[in-house]
Every structure is written in structure tokens, then in C-alpha cells.
């Protein structure tokens, strides 16, 4: 079942088109990664999907509800952690969680139980009595994310939730999100840290300049866009004629870097590698280390966005 469906969704601010006719289908129970460079339209899309702003054009269906006609009905079923910090400066961490749940109409007993649980899950025990205004950026972000789990929801929007978090807290949050997704919660997730998206997401969409460029699973995106592989060769000594020796090899880009390291990128990496090794052996060049680097989502992302920018230019 589709949890989010948009058709020809657009948002313009005067002459600027922030979101340009996007079509999305997010399945229930999925963690959907929404990636794009700064200013690509990620946050505007989240504001459209969470009914904070009205679209200029197109349709939005969230959890089977027409979000343009019934925004309040949608908001009752979703959770939102926006990109910018949001907090009540005068409340302690504990009170902020409790009061937020009260605002959502959660009963007193559940509020108390969930506060205790989330303080534990998000490691907020030491700062539970501290006021929000006295917290560090990372601590405040942890409280902001934890707070959203104080109420029931079917769909959660997280706009760069790991900003300011240390690696331990980040991994803990990602694992917590995974466990929540297993219980059926759908998560719409934006981030600039692509290893996070790779670790977490079932589906990924890449947006640039308001347009969706690709949507697929991380593996499929790699297969589709990541045929090019990277091979690194480390030589024991510099070789004066190395550039000359390898110039004739086709279908690859060779970076000689420091002179002892060679980085080769090619879509026919195996063939290119055997040619290079043959040349090196024939010329008595000693290879000290050889490694093939698997294609990362980051490379795929840069390729997709780079291609899109190039075609626009």
C-alpha cells in the first residue's frame, strides 16, 4: 500500500520553482531516503507533504487522505522533525517531552511511561532536568527527535535529524529508526550523510533543482549508475616513465596522484586492470598494494547530480 503519493507536485515562490512537478510513491513501512544537494527542494517537499505550505500545482495523498483538502486529518497521523531546531527554551528536557505529548493529547500514564523510555533510548538521563536553553546543539537535536516519538503516528518525516549528533548517538538513532520501521512505521528521511541513507533506507530518491532524478533501492541505484569502479594501485617506488607507459590504455581515467599511487576509474575495470598489470610487470614496476573500491552511494549521488547539472548547463 502506498503511504505517500504525489502527482505533478510543484511549488513556486514568485519566479523561483522550488519543487518542479514531482511524482513520488512511498510504500507503507519503508524508510524512504530523500537526497539532494543544498537548495535542491528537499525541505520544501517536506513542507508540502506535511501540509505546512500549499502546493502551486499537483496532488498529494498521505495515508490515503487528500492532504490538500484535509490537511488537519493528515497532521493528526504524522510526526515531523523539521530541519531547524524547535524547542521550548524554558522547559527542562523531561518537561519538554511530557508537555509535547500533552499537546498531542496523550494520556498522563502513557506520557510518563514514554518519557522514561525515550530518556533511556536517547541517552538523555544526565540532562533530563536541564533546560533546553542550556543544552548543546547535539543534545537539543536528540531531544527534538525523541520528542516526536512521544505520540502515535503512522508516518514520520525526518529532515536531517542527525545534524550535530556524535557518531555514537547517530548510530543509536539509526538503529532505533530501523526498529521502529520494523513495527510498521513509514519514515521519510532526508540527509546529506549518504552512508546513513545507505545503512537505513529501503528506497532512495535523488532530487536536484526541484526535480526527481532517480528513485530506486540503494542496490539498484548502484547497479544502474555505478558501473564505473575505482581501483587503487600503490607502487613501491616512483617510476619516471609511468605516465608514458599507461597513456595508451583506453576506456579509463587514470590519476597518478603522488607518483606511487595510481587511481583508475573505468566501467571495464577488470580488463583495464589486467592491461595495466601486464604493462607494470613487463617494465619491472613493483606493485606493493592493490585494492578495488566498491561504488558508494556517495559516488552515485555525485554522478546523478553532476550529470543533471551538466545537462542543465
Amino acid at each position: 500500500m502506498s503511504c505517500i503519493t504525489t502527482r505533478s507536485l510543484s511549488k513556486s515562490y514568485g519566479q523561483v520553482t522550488a519543487v518542479n512537478s514531482i511524482n513520488l510513491d512511498v510504500r507503507s513501512g519503508d524508510i524512504f531516503g530523500f537526497l539532494g544537494p543544498n537548495g535542491a527542494g528537499k525541505s520544501t517537499t517536506i513542507k508540502l507533504l506535511t501540509t505546512l505550505v500549499a502546493p502551486t500545482n499537483g496532488t498529494i495523498e498521505i495515508l490515503g487522505i487528500d492532504a490538500i483538502k484535509n490537511p488537519l486529518q493528515v497532521r493528526k497521523k504524522i510526526g515531523v522533525v523539521l530541519q531547524q531546531p524547535s524547542y521550548e527554551s524554558s522547559l527542562s528536557v523531561e518537561n519538554a517531552l511530557e508537555k509535547y505529548a500533552m499537546m498531542w493529547g496523550v494520556d498522563r500514564k502513557t506520557r510518563k511511561d514514554r518519557t522514561a523510555e525515550l530518556i533511556d533510548v536517547f541517552d538523555l538521563g544526565e540532562i533530563r532536568k536541564r533546560k533546553n536553553e542550556d543544552l548543546s546543539i547535539g543534545q537539543r537535536r536528540r531531544v527534538q527527535v525523541a520528542r516526536e516519538f512521544m505520540h502515535e503516528m503512522d508516518l514520520l518525516f525526518l529532515d536531517e535529524p542527525t545534524i550535530g549528533l556524535d557518531p555514537g548517538a547517530r548510530r543509536k538513532l539509526l538503529d532505533f529508526l530501523r526498529s521502529k520501521a520494523k513495527t510498521g512505521l513509514t519514515i521519510f528521511y532526508t540527509t546529506h550523510i549518504l552512508t546513513e541513507a545507505e545503512y537505513l533506507c529501503d528506497q532512495i530518491a535523488v532530487i536536484n533543482k526541484g526535480k526527481i532524478l532517480a528513485v530506486d533501492t540503494p542496490e539498484q541505484l548502484k547497479n544502474q549508475f555505478g558501473q564505473e569502479k575505482t581501483i587503487k594501485i600503490h607502487l613501491s617506488t616512483r617510476h619516471q616513465k609511468l605516465v608514458e607507459l599507461l597513456t595508451g590504455i583506453n576506456d579509463c581515467e587514470i590519476d597518478f596522484d603522488t607518483g606511487t599511487d595510481i587511481i583508475i576509474q573505468s566501467s571495464r575495470a577488470e580488463i583495464v586492470l589486467s592491461q595495466i598489470l601486464q604493462i607494470l610487470i613487463e617494465n619491472n614496476v613493483q606493485v606493493e598494494e592493490l585494492s578495488a573500491v566498491p561504488t558508494t552511494l556517495e559516488e552515485i549521488f555525485l554522478k546523478i547530480v553532476g550529470d543533471s547539472n551538466a545537462s542543465d548547463d
Partner: protein
């Protein structure tokens, strides 16, 4: 489980974040200093103050004026709530939850109404020993005071809200709100009567809604119901309605 109305839940939240010790000191200690220190200190200079057809001693005059002053002061909360919500991201956060903009606006109105009533009542109770000799409570006293608290709260709360929606820097917000409320406080009949004041100043008093609010409160306490007070009530309602509509329009137009 039966849930309370979203507006009530927001009022609960507004009261929780507003009622800090600093605010309570501001609301109680500050007016008391005025009532007891200024009230009695000026008694040596001011024998009595004419109000309508009665003469009030100065402590009774200033104590009744401080009720209006306190109602106005408490409505600053409305501007501060909106300002803080925008500054700390809670405005968007609330509106991405199970609330409408109308819930948000109404919750602010109810919050300032409650604070206005409570702070007015506190000063009334504390000031009561000072003006009980001159007070003429009757069946209209309480309705007049409640009317003044609610309409005054809506009026000044709307003004504070309008300021908070128009300004982006915290310095600008503080300067403007303090200047405007300082003007309201001291160019009014809260501390001194219009009769006998230089004409431009007396005119200035009647360009200020706090004067109307204070006059209505005094009319309620000292039983001086005149046609002029009815006119003042009408002006106050009109000013409150207009500023409330402007505040709602500006709030609903705020960028998200």
C-alpha cells in the same frame, strides 16, 4: 479516551511556558511597589484626585490604575509567546501537528485573557485595603471588571502579537515592545488624572487605549457609570476588534 480540545491543550502549554518566577515577580512585585511606595509617597503632594463625581485619595487612584496597567503588562506574554515560537521553531512545529492556525491564535487569546483576569484580580485583592473606603461595589462592578480584563487583554495582546509578527531581530522586538508599552503606561490616566494636565498631554492620554481601560475599571470600582464611560467601552471594543483582526491576518500570513 476523551481528548481535550486542541486550543485548550495549547493554552495549557502557553501557561506552562509563560508562568516562570520572573514573570510572576514582574506581575506582582512591580505593581505593588507602585501601589505602596508611589501611592503613599505622593500622598503628601496629592491630597485627592477627581474622578467623575467623586474625589479619590491618591493610593486608591493609583491602585485602581495599576489593575489596568497589570492587565496590559500581562498581555506582553502573547507577543513573547509568538516571538519565542517563531525564534525557536515551535511555530512551525505546532502547525505541523494536530492544530490549525485558528487553534494557535485562539489559544493566545485565551492565555492572555486568563492572565489578564488573574493579574487584575491579584492587584484588586492586594489593592482592596487601599480603596475600600472609596469603593462602591454594586451589581455592575464585577461585569465591568471582567469586561475590562477580557477586552483589554484582547486589545493589548493583539498589539503585542502584531509587533511580534512584524519584527525579526530580538533587539528590534525588545526595543519596540518596550517603547510602545512604556508609552501606553505613562501617557495614560493609570498614574495621574487627565484633568489638570497640560492640554496636549491630556489629548495624548485619550489617544491611548490604556486610559479607556483604566477609566472603565475605576468606573466599576467607584460606581461612577457615566455616558462617557459607555463611550469609552465602545471605543475599547472597536479598538480590540480591529487590532485582533489585524493580528489574526498577520499571524495566518506568517511564512512557514
Amino acid at each position: 479516551m476523551i481528548q481535550t480540545h486542541p486550543t485548550i491543550r495549547l493554552v495549557n502549554r502557553n501557561l506552562t511556558i509563560s508562568l516562570n518566577p520572573g514573570f510572576l515577580v514582574w506581575q506582582v512585585i512591580f505593581p505593588l511597589v507602585y501601589i505602596f511606595v508611589a501611592g503613599f509617597a505622593y500622598t503628601a503632594l496629592i491630597d485627592s484626585v477627581p474622578f467623575g463625581n467623586v474625589n479619590l485619595d491618591y493610593p486608591a487612584f493609583i491602585a485602581s490604575g495599576m489593575i489596568g496597567f497589570n492587565i496590559m503588562n500581562s498581555t506582553l506574554v502573547s507577543g513573547i509567546i509568538i516571538w519565542n515560537d517563531r525564534r525557536h521553531g515551535m511555530f512551525e512545529q505546532i502547525l505541523s501537528g494536530p492544530f490549525t492556525k485558528s487553534n494557535y491564535v485562539l489559544s493566545n487569546v485565551f492565555t492572555i485573557g486568563i492572565l489578564g483576569l488573574v493579574s487584575g484580580s491579584i492587584i484588586l485583592l492586594i489593592g482592596f485595603p487601599l480603596f475600600f473606603k472609596s469603593a462602591e461595589f454594586n451589581s455592575l462592578t464585577i461585569p465591568f471588571l471582567v469586561f475590562a480584563s477580557i477586552v483589554g487583554s484582547i486589545l493589548f495582546g493583539s498589539i503585542a502579537s502584531i509587533i511580534s509578527t512584524r519584527l525579526k531581530s530580538s533587539e528590534g522586538f525588545n526595543v519596540i515592545i518596550n517603547t510602545v508599552f512604556l508609552f501606553f503606561a505613562f501617557v495614560s490616566t493609570a498614574f495621574y488624572p487627565a484633568q489638570g494636565a497640560p492640554e496636549p498631554l491630556a489629548t495624548g492620554f485619550y489617544l491611548n487605549p490604556l486610559t479607556y481601560l483604566v477609566d472603565i475599571i475605576r468606573a466599576g470600582i467607584f460606581g461612577t457609570f457615566t455616558e462617557f464611560v459607555i463611550l469609552e467601552m465602545t471605543v475599547l471594543i472597536a479598538a480590540a476588534a480591529i487590532s485582533f483582526i489585524i493580528a489574526i491576518k498577520l499571524l495566518t500570513k506568517l511564512d512557514l
